[in-house]
Symmetry: C2
Subunit: 156 residues, 2 copies
Amino acid sequence: MSSKGKIILTPIGFVRTDAVGDEVKDKTKLSQIIIHDELAEALDGIAGFSHLFVLFWLHEISEEQRKTLKVHPRGRRDLPLLGVLATRTMLRPNPIGLTLVELVKVEGNVLTVRGLDAFDGAPVLDVKPFDSWDMAKDARVPEWWSKLESEKAKSR
Amino acid sequence: MSSKGKIILTPIGFVRTDAVGDEVKDKTKLSQIIIHDELAEALDGIAGFSHLFVLFWLHEISEEQRKTLKVHPRGRRDLPLLGVLATRTMLRPNPIGLTLVELVKVEGNVLTVRGLDAFDGAPVLDVKPFDSWDMAKDARVPEWWSKLESEKAKSR
């Protein structure tokens, strides 16, 4: 396959949540990840981890939206116009969501997690145990990012 | 699209590295990510971040290998047999690599990064700026995981 060739994924499961709209951003909310029955065995041992990365498909993003190259972060025109890959916008060439969640409970093929900002029905592509090598303690972010973060903190 | 429907991705670029075999695991090594020209604009502003998540396609994994449900971590039979989703094995239903890297340099459509454990030619699916909300400071991992980590530390 060439590096331009298409890649085909099959979801391993889907998200169940009663959160709607902006409620999905509430990091205290619980969601469920329902893994397809035939893959349930692939979860064996996952309960030993407290945190997981969830990779999911942003199924609400259209083919047209995937062509977006630049955005104002969160649609804010007071912030610079930036390349989509320099932000965490959902409007990306491959709209894959990546969220660190707390693993609360495992029951058969159902994972209950806290902090997953995915909509109900979102196809799940992968879950990966989190460990300390996934962290950078001294990460630097640009000014516009820090500004958004501090506004978010104040609004809590 | 149903949660079982197939999802089609198009790589945004590819990895260039002279590391071969186990050399790709050397976290001090530099690699390059070449973003396709038509997407270069989507990188505007990325230099403001010191760290990125890179999502790439593990193109060496076959369709047959994607069906693996259980593995001994790193092939070690002294460790428990675990579900693939409870490990970071490359043998996963959707073999997407996820690695946190240091962004060293940005020149046009070329990102120079440190710590990317991807092989030469690996298709890149997404890059995402890293921030502190991608960390869990108090993460718990199972005993087999800690054992592997402490062995790795000793061998350095």
